[in-house]
């Protein structure tokens, strides 16, 4: 009958609305479900996974030595021209000329964190760091030289 159908419709509608309202009331009253992370306050506890691709860095050991041979594999692997390897020739103690890096210039503003340079590197000289707060006031600060001043290549890395 028309009237029965009409009343059923109204009650069905109200019921479906109440089901939703019950769910939202549950969340309104259960504050332990809140998932907000208060970012700048939780810096100490915020730990990114080891594989997180933040920026490319070149690890140096205690003697200020790195593992980069200046082979430009990373430069070739990079799709965006983020890395520029500037090489120089060192004179080894034996008197031979040896290719080494002068500067490894890294343009963070061009980098897409694709990790291709890191897997291309034959001597594991560059790795991805877990930093992510990259904003600076001046664009020039994003262009970085990865090898520290006065650093030299580690012994035994070819």
């Amino acid at each position: 009958m028309f009237l029965v159908k009409y009343i059923k419709e109204v009650f069905g509608a109200i019921k479906s609305l109440l089901v939703g309202m019950r769910r939202t009331l549950y969340y309104f009253t259960h504050h332990k479900e809140i998932i907000t992370q208060q970012y700048p306050d939780n810096r100490e506890t915020l730990k990114l996974p080891d594989r997180f691709k933040g920026e490319v860095v070149m690890p140096h050991d205690a003697n200020n030595e790195h593992r980069c041979t200046g082979c430009t594999a990373c430069e070739l692997a990079c799709p965006n021209g983020t890395i520029k390897v500037v090489t120089k020739f060192d004179i080894t103690p034996e008197g031979k000329k040896k290719k080494a890096i002068d500067k490894l210039v890294y343009h963070l503003e061009l980098c897409t964190m694709c990790n291709l340079c890191v897997i291309a590197c034959p001597s594991d000289a560059i790795v991805m760091d877990q930093t992510f707060e990259h904003s600076v006031f001046n664009r020039a600060e994003l262009t970085k030289v990865l090898n520290k001043p006065g650093s030299k290549i580690m012994d035994g890395v070819e």
């Binding site: 109204v10 109200i14 609305l17 939703g20 309202m21 769910r23 939202t24 009331l25 969340y27 309104f28 504050h31 479900e33 809140i34 998932i35 907000t36 208060q38």
Partner: protein, 358 residues
Amino acid sequence: MWSFSKIANLIHEWLNQTFNPTLATIIEMVIVGIAVIGLFAVLGLVLVIMERKVSAWIQIRLGPNRVGPKGMLQSLADTLKLLVKEAMTPSGSDKFLFNLAPYIAMMVAMLLMAPIAFASNFQMWDLNIGVLYVSAVSSISVISILIAGWASNNKYSLMGAMRSGAQIVSYELSAGLSILAVVVLTGSLNINDIIQSQANGWWIFKGHIPAIIAFIVFITAVTAETNRAPFDLAEAESELTAGFHTEYSGMKFALFFLAEYVNVFIVCAIGATLFLGGWMPFHVGNWQGFNHVMDYIPGSVWFFGKTFFLIFVIMWFRWTFPRLRIDQLLNLEWKYLLPISMFNILLVTAMAILGWHF
């Protein structure tokens, strides 16, 4: 017992002793005006922070928590921001009407404050057709929205305004009819009489199922009338960007914003007065002891408690439901709410004549 009415009487008497009656009346008017504007500002701040907290908790967020203790001063900071923001007038707009619209919205909200009884004998204007006055004045608010939409010279605004016009005009009916249900039961349009008639129980309990139906219809209709989600078609963020106030910024926008919240407060106050007894404490029939205990809680606490509960319900609606479409909105009114409330009026009338209510 501490009450607002005593303070009000005290001031009244003191003014009449000190000044001549005309001057005293004028001073009283000024005091009332300042009080209303103050109440407005406070209500705006409280309701905005309440809405933000309610929405945050429903949405498993924390909500504002930086400004002031527990973020309670957040809306003050927002107001400050809106005050110093440039209030732009678009070049193609009708400048006079564009600037007029927010003030009309405010004025309507202020006018509606007049007959509301905040506590026993604490009322700005105890007029004998209080309920009629409320439903008459509240329909003026559509004019401000229409003016805002038209004067903005923006297609989104115009569409928002037109939607709002259709919406408010039609929902006025069922809101009026559900108010009428209580008027039929009490036999008075005076707000004080209506509250007094609930001394032995609120109408939502005394009036059996018809009163509950009237209450549900009322809550739905006023949600639509105040343009709140799920009936916020005049704003409809995802369709019309911001509807009728797309072009408004700074303090002019803030006035619309404030008017919306004050309107919500007023309709909830009316709802609380009609169905939940206003400032009348919770009384049950002839349990004298129980009623006496309840009387110890001041009337203003009862009034604000009930009103804020209804405001919470309306906010709860907003953060749960998706928005209706314009034709569905009108369908809901003309095919469901209006027939139901008309039938309901019939039931209530029969009930009132036969005396079936408690």
